[in-house]
Amino acid sequence: MAMSWILVGMLLLSLASALLGGQPEALSQAALDGAQRAVQLGLSLAGPICLWSAVGETMQRAGLSESLARLLAPALRRLFPEAWRDRRTAGYLSANVTANLLGLGNAATPMGIQAARRMAGRQTAASDELCRLVVLNTASIQLLPTTVAALRAGLGAAAPFDILPAVWLSSGSALTVGLAACRLLERWRS
């Protein structure tokens, strides 16, 4: 719903602005141009997005996920001590985090949901660990942001992946701040 309001706001704003500026006839042309650009942009992005997502999927099937999961186990056990006691929850948790790291959002969400369900049980209030899991998933920890890199490749970037260090550092900062906020707010009961 929120997107609808934003859209209505943008439409009202451009109409009002065009009427004030005295160039209302430019609007319809702009709308059509925009649709045209959308199709061109979509076409130029199709190739890189598909190719990189093929690389990502094959990487996962080649067993990179399991190796990553083993690497991550110690950190996850400390973040989710309660949930880690249950073997299946632990499995879902590490599958969720590794899929996120590999930039496979579509695979990460179902695993994360399974983990969240098992962690919540019948409680209707979120536990501290569940809040941590959600924040972990909203901070987008990606080793390979393939979709964004594919966008860059499709638009002619010289080196599509040269943004990697910046992406790692800024999602790392986001995650750190998110988890620190969780720690500070743990006393929040309602």
Binding site: L7, M10, L11, L13, S14, A16, S17, A18, G21, Q23, L27, A30, A31, A38, L45, A46, I49, C50, L51, S53, A54, G56, E57, T58, R61, A62, L64, N106, A116, R117, R122, A125, A126, C131, V134, V135, N137, T138, A139, S140, T147, V148, L151, L155, A157, A158, A159, P165, A166, V167, L169, S170, S171, S173, A174, T176, V177, A181, C182, L185
Partner: protein, 174 residues
Amino acid sequence: MAQLSALLLPLALLGVSLAAVARRQDAYSALLAGAGEGLRTLARMLPALLVLLPVVQMLQASGAAERLCKLLQPLARALGIPAETLPILLVRPLSGSAALAVGADLMATHGPDSPIGRTAAVMLGSTETTFYTVSVYFGAAGVRRTRYAVPAALLADLTGFVSAALFTRIFFPS
């Protein structure tokens, strides 16, 4: 380094195929499945592009975008981000496809290697569709009292946006 970067895609294709074959996995069908997944990503993004780009174009043609940018310049400066990327902050927590559409538009308009294009890319890579994630996870778990999850997640997002601009400036000084 430039050589490596130019060969990245062929090397990645070769590397993952070899790794899969070494594990006795069918590399060809894995590649096909992944390419299909890419088509689905595109299919999710395309409608958002088709609806949002005309509106963005209208905002620009009417002069509203310019006025809005000027109006919000102090806020953008306070956060240390380019004013042009503010729309990403607005839609990113709500809709992933809309954020991709807005980001792709910025990269196409200003160039993928411009400071604005790079900042947009790093922002997209380091934040998530927070409200969607929160509602999916808590909804599935039957949790009604979300306590501090939403403010903590939004704070993480804001950190992501600000540091995206910061690290882009550090790594790619213009």
